[in-house]
């Protein structure tokens, strides 16, 4: 478009094409793309209603005292009273915050490091065929639903399951893993690793393929061992993508793990160690309209702090890895 603004007429003189006004631009763009505009309209409307509607409601509800009869917009405006009440009137508050933070940190490490280590191992494997086969296998669990993973876990870990049978046969005593608060966090984290470790390697492997292979040959000739090669060549080669994924993971640090998964795995016996903001919201918040405002202010805090964390970590990523999320 830029070079057509100036042109030479048949008389040899220079002519300037007038810059189009934005009205003309819109008109032209509409004439060209009106079908597309029409087709994306439903999607945008649903985005506005179902993504922005809740954001807006959440904002209002966290500053009002929601009552069912008054509705969202008719309820009394109480400023920061809900946030104060969170600390004073919610008995589970401390437990929720602790569990959310602890589980978030666990999930952060579980989601980040195992995949990186497995990717390096797969990459260093000398046999290409074995690598392909094992890749195919380790990706599979990622596509199972949490309900099915729980079904499997129940079969393995329940009172009469595989692990307990092995314990009994070797002379131990039964442990009901799924109903024991000591084990619930480990179970959550291990199943999460099992499900997603393979899938997480894809990105790293793709990044590793772009590393210059001659670097490895040269390093071998110079007597550089396999472990040292990881630190000298592989890791620096995938530095950028690693930092980028780290940033993404940091953004989710307040999510309190995977609510959908925890809801399946926990039980009243294990609430003390696994009840997070997300699960409380589903179990208690949704049940009782009197607590809607309290719950909304809690999730408002969570979402807002989460967003600020993403923005901060993105700043860091842009600075150190030269990759930005947008």
């Amino acid at each position: 478009m830029k070079d057509t603004r100036k042109f030479y007429g048949s008389d040899g003189r220079e002519y300037l094409l007038a810059e189009r006004t934005w009205k003309e631009k819109i008109l032209i763009s509409f004439r060209k793309y009106w079908v597309i505009y029409l087709l994306i309209l439903p999607g945008i409307v649903s985005l506005l209603i179902f993504s922005y509607g809740p954001m807006f409601l959440q904002l209002i509800m966290s500053f009002t005292n929601y009552r069912l009869i008054d509705g969202v917009f008719g309820s009394e405006w109480v400023w920061f009273n809900n946030f104060v009440e969170l600390f004073t009137e919610l008995p589970e508050f401390e437990r929720l915050i602790t569990n959310t933070l602890v589980l978030s940190v666990y999930y952060f490490f579980a989601g980040f490091f195992p995949s990186l280590i497995l990717a390096i191992m797969l990459f260093d494997l000398s046999s290409t065929r074995l690598r392909k086969i094992s890749q195919t296998i380790v990706y599979i669990p990622y596509f199972f639903s949490w309900v099915i993973v729980y079904t499997i876990c129940y079969g393995l870990l329940s009172n009469t399951g595989l692990i307990n049978s092995i314990i009994i046969n070797s002379g131990g005593t039964r442990i009901d893993f799924l109903l024991n608060a000591h084990y619930i966090r480990s179970i959550l984290v291990v199943t999460n690793i099992w499900k997603s470790v393979g899938w997480g390697t894809i990105i790293y492997l793709a990044a590793m393929l772009s590393i210059d292979v001659t670097l490895y040959d040269v390093a071998k000739l110079d007597g550089c061992g396999p472990i040292r090669r990881i630190f000298v060549i592989t890791l620096p080669g995938i530095k950028n993508i690693t930092v980028f994924l780290l940033v993404l993971a940091l953004g989710g640090i307040l999510n309190g793990g995977n609510t959908e998964q925890i809801l399946l795995f926990y039980s009243p016996a294990t609430w003390s160690k696994a009840d997070t903001i997300g699960t409380w919201m589903y179990r208690e918040g949704l049940r009782n309209p009197d607590q809607f405002s309290l719950a909304a202010s809690l999730s408002f805090l969570q979402s807002t702090i989460g967003m600020i964390l993403v923005l901060i970590s993105n700043k860091l990523s842009t600075k150190y890895a030269k990759i930005s999320i947008w």
Binding site: I44, S46, S134, F144, V147, P226, S267, Y282, L286, A295
Partner: protein, 304 residues
Amino acid sequence: MEKEKRSIFDRFKRFMRKERWNSERYYQMFLYTFIFLLSLLCLYPLIYVLSASLMSVSEWQARNGIFLLPHRPTIEAYKYVLTQQQLYKSLWVSVARTVVGALLSTVTSALTGYALSRSDFFMKRPLSILLFITLIYYGGLIPSYLVIEQMGLLNTFWVFVIPGMLGGWNALVFRQTFQGVPPEIEESAMVDGASALRILWSILLPMNMPTVAVILLFCAVGQWNAWFDASMYIDSSNANLTPLQLFLQHAFSEQKPDAGQVTLLNIETQRMAVAVIGIVPILCIYPFFQKYFTKGVYVGAVKG
């Protein structure tokens, strides 16, 4: 015969030579062992579910959960499960939401991504920002519930499909992918009289099959595996709108405080049979999409 034996022996001798036992070999041995064990760990639960579903109840109880394969495989669990009306209703809901949801979501995201990748689209920047905010800010469970209630979607099929119609991430990935296509290709098509829709359908989508395939797969698997939305927005007594995963989840909810649903699957082998029914479709489509994984996911992550 004699010769061959010697050559194997020689090869073995060469293999065992002292200078060959270096750190490289130890490292490779470690990798082989570890990855072999990990693959077993990923496969065993699958075999476990399948074997359990093929066992009779008495065998299941007798073997205490320790098994690799059933001694006397039977299909009695499947027989029982297949007599349940609920299974067919649930399968129908799951298939319908998978097909409708995945297609609708992929098409909407592709169209939005296409619009965002055009330099002469007049809402380009505001719409990109609008989509981006949904990725980093969540409106919360209870406000979402209220909105869906207000829109009259509670206890309808459309609650599975419409709220997540335009995936922000997917649309942004499509935008990045389409921007990578050289503009000359599109210009030449336009000179030949192709419309915007035609360019998208016949040029941009076929050129970016890995992205399309991965996004389609993710939407489909997401829909097939979803149970949380159904448990929130559908009454637990509404049998006609209970997806397969929720049907399976109900089998366990007897131990949960929020029970109240009628449990149909009390016996472990029957649950395993339903689990197998839930797994098989995924395993069937998996090989067709696998070749697109690396490229599609990488493009999506790095550029999106």
